[in-house]
Symmetry: C2
Subunit: 1007 residues, 2 copies
């Protein structure tokens, strides 16, 4: 190692020192490269052989890469050679995939000799994967680690695992952890005393080093309730920590997605701050430099370590979930937590490396990187600061970047390998991440070993690399006429403390005003009535949320008169003004978001997340329909004709009746009302009897937003009298209804009749129920399928029109899937929805409770009850235990009737044909979906599943305005799409204006 | 006059002589310009004064020009100063019009002092107009002409007139002609013998020279029947010719629009070929050099003159209807008959000038031009050919191009002025044409006197002027999503002999196959039935067009079974194939266009034009819906979301019932069937009982086009049994109905019920009747209003849903309008529709005849019958005399009930408010319109008239596919638009597919 120039500047002033530092970094870098050149290139980047060819093709052709990696992803779940051959054909046989000739030939052969191909492919891919992971055999693991030790390389082991979707899986994981630690401890006890790892200079970490993923220790982590998660995780951690302390092992907390980052930090501080663990085991955690938060978090950990006077090892990595974090944030319109440019992450890594080195008295640094520039920077900074480079370590991944490891060792640095333990199936996510890292165009390894970037480029300072925007999502599919200003309201991020704290405050405020009377509102005037119907908290029937006036027929008539009178003027109000009203309403709802959600929690029994989502959807409807109407408000030319102007525009229909359900008490009501009025109609709204207070709140907000008198009237009362009267009313132009099939059919029929004095045909927007299905294919990703099915079936107690009700599982997967499904369901938190983290609450009413319980009872005669959750013994709450029936025959009521409660029916299908036939064997056609990794089967679902909303490889609930226009056909509705571009047309009639522009043979030029 | 260079080349070889010719032209041109410079510039182009300012502004600002000329156009009809001030404000007060300061100030003043402004404006504009026309006073006219004669200028007089919309007006015109001739003859007899005009050298024309417009001599010119028109025109011409011969007067046929050009040529040859007129009067006609046909026509006239050994004067003009001809041809997708570039017309003029000079032995040339280049070219060519320039004459318009006239006279040429006789009201079209000519950027006068083009530019050869494409129509109004390949089927141009001759042939062929039995068609199999219903010719009940099988309920059931069975496969047939089927069908209809039209003539009693239009519309529906479905067939992305693909596409509904009316027997049936099937549904079609043979013909064409079995079934039978059964059928997914309100409401109600076993809500596309109105404003252009009202009310005997039924006339115009309306109606040709030129035929059936006659009878108690046409006394035909009621009260049945026959109700409105209120006082809302020239009133109609299709200043019938999406609301229908972009959505349901593309945190780049 050559001497570096003396550094005379004061520490911390990095900006002035940069030129000298850069020289030093370059020197270190050159040295590392020189050492690397002596080693073999990493086997994945060899241009010879199977792996090399695949990686080369992956880097050249994005489509091939996608298909290959997806194939690799599904491969471990495939149970037969023919299945492997079929998937290979489906992924790589499609025309768009350009294949290397050899592969194409092989693929053709695959059709005829699947057994051969199947075995071959599995062993090839298995061979690739084994490069990165240690397998399951305890002895084999020990032998490998021992081999590393012999090379002077330390290790940390991580247990590969599927997602933990249930508490039993979390228990198993904790148990495996203990067993691994025991086993390794036993094995290492037999290693020679002169263990090179433990005798390395520097303070070092204990040689038995384990990495733990906290998400594997609790299945019900909820953003709104980190405390419960922290407690549950800690409970499962303590036995591990105890044993680690006894064994002198080191425990590292891995860092996963951003959503659980704060929780991980919280658990780390809490548990290692407990008296029992103050003095051990040795501990550390990973921090991700690509996070914008990382500097603050690192500062926090350093401070904590100082305060606790406890050395903490910080494994600084760049972060491996960039795609996921970016996608999730974009989908939810949240601030993206990761730096968007690779160079920014690299620069952050350097900045935080320096911070670690500067605080080496308090924290022990472990630098997780394969990047020579990053390594050289660390060495140069250490040199500059006079930090012994044996006082920190490098961590690299098992099976990756061998030449870099060799070079680092040559330089006398400490090196630890991150060694995942497990087979291909549980390790597939890890394996795919490694393939991605190796083929990423921005990654150091691919740049160095595949693209042949120059040393200069590879050693350039990240601060000098120009930012290139990441590629935009492009798509050949044309986009619907753009409502370009529209942006979905983000869901509240309850991991943010300040957001989380609003809800208890809102609930408290609300509780201080409960029990009020809510009169009708006609022409902005409050109208009290003789009867008042109480609305009670489904989680506590003793708590009256409010009482609703009950309209008489006369009240309905005066509401109609007001709506009729106000309509012509409102129709003439410019579109821009009508749209602005909705946007103001959206603004007010945004202001009152927590208060509205709190009201939904108490009146509708929604949990925090569901309540928040409902308010966000209401806001979306307002903003979206406002934009749609602005678009529709511009007359459109139909044809370009000389001498004649032809335009089409839209007229309001008149007076509408909006009859809304209680299950999305604000969103659906707001959606139908806002669509109706923005189109220039006036509307009488009738909220559900179960949620009148929310209806009254909407009315108040409308008035606050500047609603003119008479444009919306609030009428509450029995559907069978007041509702029916308004539907049949000859002055009613349209009815917008969302609710049950029975009521929907009655409205459809009533509106079909044109009574004397009615001057128009009645239009009905009718959205009814569903009996929604999900198919779980034999190659489904069960981690995702189990979680998605549980959420789809039991979210809001199954009281969504879109809720999963019929689960059709392919025979191959049936047992394993059902087992995990039941375990996951059994882990759900059930209780009052106002308690954060409770997922399952009561059903809407005593009546609903009785009805569903009776259905469950009779279901026992039809099918096999395989699981039933237990609910709190709270007589004043309307709980229904979530229930799973299996072996449900397609002829049964369980399979055919909409239940609208937490009851899931599972049916086994012999093959995919039967699965599709079962899925389509329903009078409803609302939502449905499929978990599969067979491209052909996914295409079949796209083409054949008879549902208005088809979801692939995700939950079948949670449609988002504009993104997933919502609505079904068959007995689910009339084929309208709430939140879709065409929705407003239902509230309008088209009108064409033709003007002859020729006069005396003269047409204006500008026509 | 200077000597011109000797010309040595042989005549006719113009190409080699061009350089020399151009020199000569330049010389002549320079000479003319020099002479012009001595004269005053034309007063219109003076930069001083009122006219000059207006013209200057018109040329600078297109919007101002449009508004000014439109104001000028309406001015003569305005009866009060306040009306003038209001219109001035409406036209020129709008923000988009940039006004000269002086005008803006004046306009502001106008509001407060309308009487002052009104009088002032009228006298100013009147003064402008009087520059171009001679007024009405016989003595004044004679004095003016005498003045011209004193200057050595000959004349031809033309009688300005409104459009001739009735036979009485044609009679009046002929009468005025005779009177004018007499009067002028008398006056000229008192002129000195040494009348300079008659003593001019050259053969010359007689000094009493009259121009006749043939369109003024017959009100019912019909493209399909030129012979009748020729006869009627000749009948009115002969007295004029006789008297002209006696007086030694010269008769010139003016040339008007292209549509009557061939007729004018035909009449000219026929009438002047008659023995009586072989030797007089002297005659000539105008030919328009801007017509592509002109060279052939001129050749024909020269040949005719030679054969007849009769000198004919040919007035060669460029043509004054360029905008109109271009617009009309573009609207109808006909070949544009005029050259599209001004230089081409100029070149054509030169070419034909030469032809005239070369044939000066046979024809006498009269060159109608103000263009110095054209004049110089004539003089140069005459010189070259050795033609004495006194052997031809120049004709220029009275009040135009004074300096050019002066120069031409100076050169010793003969000059004749075209002198229109009449007041501003009848002369307004002529006046506006003059203003346009004076302000046209391409016109010689504006270029010379306003733009100050150089002599070189003005004298450039038109063959060397680069063609500049005329400005494209641009429009800020966005166009609906383009179905860019679609082009309307052109209506047949019956002025083309070969087109015209197809119809009698088709009728004859059809007659040889009449009376066949037409069975049901189910699954492509013919199904005979026990009963057969004859379909007879409404113009001859003894003629059976064919007999239709009458389905039983069992037949309907088997049709349903076939449709149901065929649907899934058809739904899976690619959109492109389904669209191609429609396009093949359109092709077959195009092939059989005359045959299909002939069938409509005999089975539905449509006249040629209506029958042809119906076939064209059927073709349009096929092509348009094919294109729409191709568009809808492409899934559309709803939002761009990272990691998730969201697309919306459309699914067929299932099995549909199409119930069609007889009044557009092919178009509406085809439209509903083609929309249904192209969307992937199967359809049972039930044509009307009155037109089953057309239904059977469509079925045959569908099969010929390659329709798969079962996709369309043909079922005929009683609506009350078979139709009702199919509508109520639980397997029916949708019903597309067009017909009466009574049946429509019944279907709507039936479809509202969801019987047991029905797995969906039924969709109904329901188009019903109308009680359509037209408002005739007090400032309407009566020429257009009368013709438009007659066509709208009585076209196809009023048996269109769009037919005009309620005519609301502003009081100011009422008497004059009604008088002309009755006269025009009284001129309609009534008789068997197979006779070309017959406009009014029988109503559809004996039953309809009885019903309408009864309504007329009872109407006499409600209102004043002011006119009734007389119909042929043909007992076997179902004629109903066209009828006009006036003073129809809004409470009467006449005003309120749909009649569906040739009955027009007229109601007087005191003001426009009342007119609009009357118009909207109807349970229907289908079509409606307004004739007005008040921008404000037109805007009110656009905003307030409650109709699905609003028409301004044109007929309210004749909607064209895509151009005028057709359909209404209130009791006229459900708000669907046949032939509109959104129509197919009625036959489909939207379906959204959401795919989570993230796997293991990895989303494909190309998503």
């Amino acid at each position: 190692m050559s001497a570096s120039p003396a550094i005379s500047i004061s520490p911390g002033d990095t900006s002035r020192s940069l030129p000298d530092l850069e020289t030093s970094i370059r020197n270190w870098g050159e040295k590392i490269f020189a050492l690397m050149d002596r080693a073999e290139p990493p086997s994945l980047f060899s241009t010879k052989g199977f792996y090399g060819t695949l990686m080369e093709w992956s880097m050249r052709d994005a489509r091939f890469k996608t298909q290959l990696f997806r194939f690799v992803d599904v491969l471990p779940t495939l149970t037969s050679s023919s299945e492997i051959a079929r998937h290979l054909q489906e992924y790589l046989g499609e025309d768009e995939v350009k294949l290397p000739t050899a592969l194409r030939v092989g693929l053709k052969a695959a059709g005829g000799a699947s057994w051969l191909v199947g075995t071959g492919v599995r062993s090839q891919v298995g061979g690739m994967a084994r490069q990165f992971m240690l397998g399951d055999d305890e002895k084999e693991i020990a032998r490998t680690l021992r081999g590393l030790a012999d090379q002077g390389i330390a290790f940390t082991v991580d247990i590969l695992g599927e997602a933990v979707v249930s508490e039993s899986e979390a228990d198993q994981y904790a148990q495996r952890y203990l067993e691994l630690m025991e086993g390794l401890g036993r094995a290492m006890a037999r290693w020679p005393a002169a263990d090179p790892v433990s005798t390395l200079p520097g303070r070092g970490s204990p040689s038995l080093n384990l990495s733990v993923k906290l998400s594997a220790l609790y299945s019900q982590i909820h953003p709104a309730d980190p405390d419960t998660a922290a407690k549950k995780i800690s409970d499962r951690l303590r036995p591990i920590l105890r044993r680690a302390k006894e064994l002198g092992a080191f425990i590292n907390f891995d860092m996963e997605s951003y959503g659980s980052k704060n929780l991980t930090l919280q658990v780390f501080r809490q548990v290692f701050g407990e008296p029992e663990f103050r003095d051990g085991p040795a501990c550390g955690l990973a921090l991700q430099a690509y996070l914008k938060d990382c500097e603050a978090d690192l500062g926090g950990i350093i401070g904590w370590a100082r305060r606790q006077q406890r050395r903490v090892t910080v494994r600084l990595v760049k972060g491996a979930y960039w795609d996921y974090e970016t996608t999730l944030a974009q989908q939810r319109h949240w601030p993206v937590p990761v730096f968007q440019h690779k160079a920014e992450s690299d620069a952050s890594f350097e900045k935080l490396s320096l911070l670690l080195l500067e605080n080496e008295d308090a924290v022990e640094a472990a630098f997780g990187t394969h990047n020579v520039r990053s390594i050289a920077h660390i060495l140069a900074q250490a040199e500059r600061l006079g930090v012994d480079r044996r006082s920190f370590e490098f961590q690299m991944l098992y099976g990756m970047a061998e030449p870099v490891k060799a070079a680092v060792l040559e330089l006398g640095c400490r090196l630890r390998e991150y060694c995942p333990v497990g087979e291909l199936l549980p390790g597939i996510a890890y394996f795919v991440r490694r393939l991605l890292e190796n083929t990423s165009n921005e990654g150091f390894l691919a740049r160095k070993f595949a693209q042949g970037a120059s040393r200069e480029e590879l050693l350039a300072s990240p601060q000098r690399i120009p930012s290139v925007d990441p590629p935009k999502i492009s798509d050949a599919t044309p986009i619907l006429q753009a409502n370009s200003d529209f942006r979905n309201e983000p869901p509240t991020d309850f991991t943010v403390v300040s957001e989380r704290e609003k809800m208890p405050a809102a609930l408290a405020t609300l509780r201080s005003h409960l029990g009020q009377r809510h009169p009708l509102v006609i022409d902005h005037k409050f109208v009290s009535t003789r009867e008042w119907l109480p609305s009670v908290n489904p989680a506590n029937q003793n708590e009256t949320v409010g009482s609703a006036a009950q309209a008489s027929i006369e009240d309905a008539e005066s509401a109609m008169a007001a709506a009729k009178a106000a309509q012509p003027k409102w129709a003439r109000t410019p579109v821009a003004e009508r749209a602005a009203l909705l946007e103001r309403l959206a603004g007010l709802m945004g202001r009152d978001k927590a208060a509205l959600a709190a009201l939904e929690i108490l009146e509708a029994g929604k949990n925090w997340t569901e309540a928040d989502a409902d308010v966000a959807e209401a806001i979306d409807f307002c903003n979206f329909y406002a934009g749609c109407m602005r678009d529709l408000g511009v007359p459109q030319r139909t044809q370009t004709v000389a001498g004649e102007s032809n335009v089409q525009h839209w007229w309001p229909r008149g007076v509408g009746i909006v009859i809304a359900p209680w299950n999305f008490p604000l969103a659906i009501l707001t959606g139908m009302v806002s669509a109706g009025i923005v189109a220039g109609n006036t509307v009488i709204m009738k909220p559900s009897d179960q949620t009148p207070v929310i209806g009254a709140r909407l009315m108040a907000l409308l008035i606050e937003a500047g609603l003119p008198k008479g444009v919306v009237g609030l009428v509450m009362g029995p559907g069978s009298t007041v509702g029916a009267h308004l539907v049949a009313h000859p002055q009613t132009n349209f009815i917008a209804f969302t609710g049950s099939k029975e009521v929907g059919l009655r409205i459809w029929e009533t509106a079909g009749r044109t009574p004397p004095g009615q001057g128009h045909l009645k239009k009905v927007v009718c959205e009814m129920g569903g009996k929604n299905c999900l198919i779980v294919d034999s190659d489904a990703d069960l981690d995702e399928a189990v979680a998605g099915c549980v959420a789809s079936a039991f979210g809001y107690q199954g009281q969504k029109c879109s809720a999963l009700s019929r689960l059709i599982v392919l025979a191959d997967n049936y047992d394993r899937f059902l087992e995990r499904l039941i375990a996951a369901s059994d882990s759900l938190r059930i209780g009052p929805p106002e308690v954060p983290g409770n997922v399952i609450g009561p059903v809407i009413s005593r009546e609903a409770q009785r009805r569903i319980l009776a259905l469950i009872q009779s279901g026992k005669d039809e099918a096999k009850l395989v699981w039933q959750g237990s609910v709190p013994a709270e007589p004043q709450a309307c709980y229904v235990p979530p229930t799973i029936f299996a072996e449900v025959p397609p002829t049964s009521r369980l399979f055919r009737e909409e239940i609208f409660g937490p009851v899931l029916s599972v049916t086994k299908a012999r093959n995919f044909d039967e699965a599709l036939a079962l899925a389509n064997d329903s009078e409803f056609a609302l939502t449905g979906g499929c978990y599969s990794r067979s491209p052909v089967n996914l295409e079949r679902v796209k083409a054949e599943l008879a549902c208005g909303n088809v979801y692939l490889n995700r939950t079948i609930t949670g449609a988002i305005v504009e993104r997933q226009p919502f609505g079904g056909f068959k007995m689910s509705g009339g084929g309208t799409k709430a939140g879709g571009r065409e929705y407003l047309q239902n509230f309008l009639v088209p009108r064409v204006i033709t003007e002859n522009c020729l006069r005396r043979g003269f047409a204006p030029e500008e026509q």
